[in-house]
């Protein structure tokens, strides 16, 4: 009796593990190549590339992945993600150190960073609570209004936000004797948080919270009839997105060494949407692809335009056209184009049927 129980439990565990190789073998080779490339990058890339190109890409990717989470899983398109990021950025400047020592409190990092994230989450929860009562275009309008309101508020408030100039000399703590604002440490710092953001969004897709959110996106009425509080799930999605955006915002303040109303103005808020949509909101990698493209364009397009004898101010036109093209040809962004191309290469060009 006991023996057969034992045997059947072994059989069950063999059945469970059949076809499951150890996780390390299940990682696709492309991941390995990318991981190794990113890890050894500081060996050959210049400080400019590490700090300005990749550091910035990772930061914008983190903020855009917070939107990817909200829009891709939750179906809520928010223009306030840069604002959530900015709130966290402002809070580290206000509670921590900056050149404006009349306002900055100089508290240690282990208080300011959690506090900054907490304030961003609370702010996002309130915004979410207002925004989830609406859908589609109205959500975009409400969150845009929030972004605009915060921008003007920060610009006009001198007591706490130091108005137009904001805060300069915002820098990361000197932890473990490392200057985290140096190119190589900063590269690894942002890489670490980008990877963390990427995998947490990916992981959540199959956790109850993420599954429920996708259910709410596809069929809110059905979710209510299954016992889910649809409103609460939507608000919680905003709160979680602010953790990601907040991390991105703190890193952004460190990367540019400052935070000011310009960081949270309408333009960067819309840029985050452009990044997420161009990259593709069906998968968190889209946020980083979009961010990389955006940073490349923003860094080099002006030079290219001028060398072609065009006005450098046309840069935004270029981004706008690119946005239109991508959205026109693939509603799923560059990711969607990639998937289409992969699908086509798998099909027989004559019959259009999948090759096996």
């Amino acid at each position: 009796m006991a023996m057969s129980d034992f045997q059947s439990s072994i059989d069950a565990s063999i059945a469970r593990n059949r076809g499951r190789r150890p996780w390390i073998e299940r990682v696709p080779p492309a991941y390995w190549v990318l991981a190794i490339l990113l890890l050894v990058m500081p060996g050959f890339a210049s400080n400019f590339v590490l700090y300005q190109i990749f550091g910035w890409t990772f930061i914008l990717g983190i903020i855009a992945s917070s939107l990817m989470f909200l829009a891709g899983y939750g179906g809520m398109v928010s223009l306030a993600q840069m604002t959530f990021a900015g709130v966290a950025g402002y809070m580290v400047a206000i509670f921590g150190d900056s050149a404006i020592d009349t306002i900055s409190q100089g508290w240690p990092w282990y208080i300011t960073i959690p506090l900054a994230l907490l304030v961003a989450v609370l702010f996002a929860t309130i915004v979410g609570w207002l925004a989830v009562r609406t859908a589609g275009i109205y959500t975009i309008m409400i969150t845009l209004a929030v972004a605009a309101a915060f921008f003007y508020f920060a610009r006009q408030n001198y007591e706490v936000f130091n108005g137009f100039t904001g805060f300069q000399s915002v820098s990361p703590p000197q932890l473990f004797g490392v200057d985290w604002q140096d190119a190589v440490p900063f590269y690894y710092l942002t890489l670490f948080w980008a990877v963390a953001a990427y995998f947490s969004v990916l992981y959540l897709s199959r956790a109850p919270f993420g599954l429920a959110l996708q259910g709410v996106r596809d069929n809110p009425r059905r979710m209510g009839a299954l016992g889910y509080n649809v409103t609460a799930h939507r608000v919680a999605a905003y709160s979680f997105s602010a953790i990601l955006a907040g991390i991105g915002g703190i890193l952004l303040a460190w990367q540019s060494g400052q935070i000011s109303p310009g960081t949270v103005s309408i333009q960067p808020s819309i840029d985050i949407l452009v990044i997420a949509v161009v990259g593709g909101i069906r998968h968190p990698i889209g946020a980083f692809i979009g961010a990389f493209l955006y940073v490349l364009l923003k860094t080099f397009a002006v030079d290219v335009l001028i060398s072609l004898g065009l006005d450098g101010d046309r840069f935004n036109l270029l981004i706008g056209m690119g946005f239109l093209l991508v959205v026109f040809f693939s509603p799923d962004g560059l990711l969607g184009l990639w998937e289409k191309a992969k699908d086509r290469s798998r099909r027989d060009p004559l019959t259009g049927r999948p090759r096996e």
């Binding site: 469970r16 992981y203 959540l204 199959r206 956790a207 109850p208 919270f209 599954l211 429920a212 996708q214 259910g215 596809d218 069929n219 009425r221 059905r222 979710m223 209510g224 009839a225 299954l226 016992g227 889910y228 509080n229 649809v230 799930h233 919680a236």
Partner: protein
């Protein structure tokens, strides 16, 4: 110890005497259209009720009012003695009410087992959990059980969008059985099913534990009369006859009205 036993015994007794469902004066207006008018309906715990009526009689609207998908224009709804008239849908579901939809409302981008898992999770704790379920998760296990109840175990990892119509109807039922339902509303579960699928459905319904009452909307008299012990007839938003299946079947008024208006089913 004895105190709590005493109390729980009394509560059991109390729920034993409460009606599962008690509707008083329910009406529902869509603009000028009276979809429901002065509906009084009482269903005892464990009772199996069939609601019959021609297209547009208001049967689905009645379900929507009971589950909270819509709020009724007037009237009160009691579920096991508790006034749930103003409760949002999820609060009613958490009290043991379940439903299926006439037109399947499923998550077509997810697999069969994930759909059932979402249903199980909806009526348990941890709806906001950030941790992925393990293979031996208790809710996963109950999802696995339900997938067998509706005979979809071979398709459990299939995307719902690639299921046949009949299989999607089965899945609807599995999702309504998630958690510990006390009362279920089935909205035309047999519509569009093949004869074999129909008899499978009847088997599933008859196999439900006896304390689990339900209301079933069904156009097919044969199915309805086999799975129900009481019948309510609706017409133009009103209830016009209630009785035992045999009485209803023989009623001349029902025969003219229902068989006359129901031949489109």
């Amino acid at each position: 110890m004895t105190m709590t036993e005493d109390r729980s015994a009394r509560r059991l007794q109390a729920t034993g005497t409460e009606n599962a469902l008690e509707l008083r004066g329910i009406s529902k207006l869509f603009g000028a259209l009276r979809a429901l008018e002065g509906i009084d309906l009482t269903v005892r715990p464990g009772e199996r009720r069939a609601v019959l009526g021609s297209n547009g009689a208001g049967k689905t609207t009645l379900f929507n009012c009971i589950t909270g998908d819509f709020l009724p224009t007037t009237g009160t709804i009691r579920f096991f003695g508790e006034d749930v008239t103003a409760f949002p849908a999820h609060e009613r579901i958490r009290r043991g009410l379940r439903r299926t939809y006439q037109i399947s409302l499923l998550f077509t981008g997810l697999s069969v087992i994930d759909n059932i898992y979402i249903a199980c999770r909806g009526v348990s704790r941890g709806r906001f959990s950030f941790i992925r379920p393990r293979r031996d998760d208790a809710l996963m296990a109950s999802a696995e059980t339900l997938v067998r109840v509706v005979h979809l175990e071979d398709l459990k990892d299939t995307l719902v969008s690639s299921l046949s119509y009949g299989q999607q109807r089965q899945l609807e039922i599995a999702m309504a059985l998630a958690g510990a339902p006390r009362f279920i509303l089935f909205d035309e579960p047999a519509a569009g099913l093949s004869p074999t699928e129909r008899s499978e459905l009847v088997e599933i319904l008859l196999g439900l534990p006896s304390h689990m009452g339900y209301i079933i909307i069904e156009h097919d008299m044969d199915v309805a009369l086999r799975v129900a012990d009481f019948v309510t007839m609706m017409h133009n938003g009103r209830i016009f006859k209630e009785g035992k299946p045999a009485e209803i079947e023989e009623d001349p008024e029902v025969q003219t009205l229902y068989l006359g208006g129901g031949d489109d089913a």
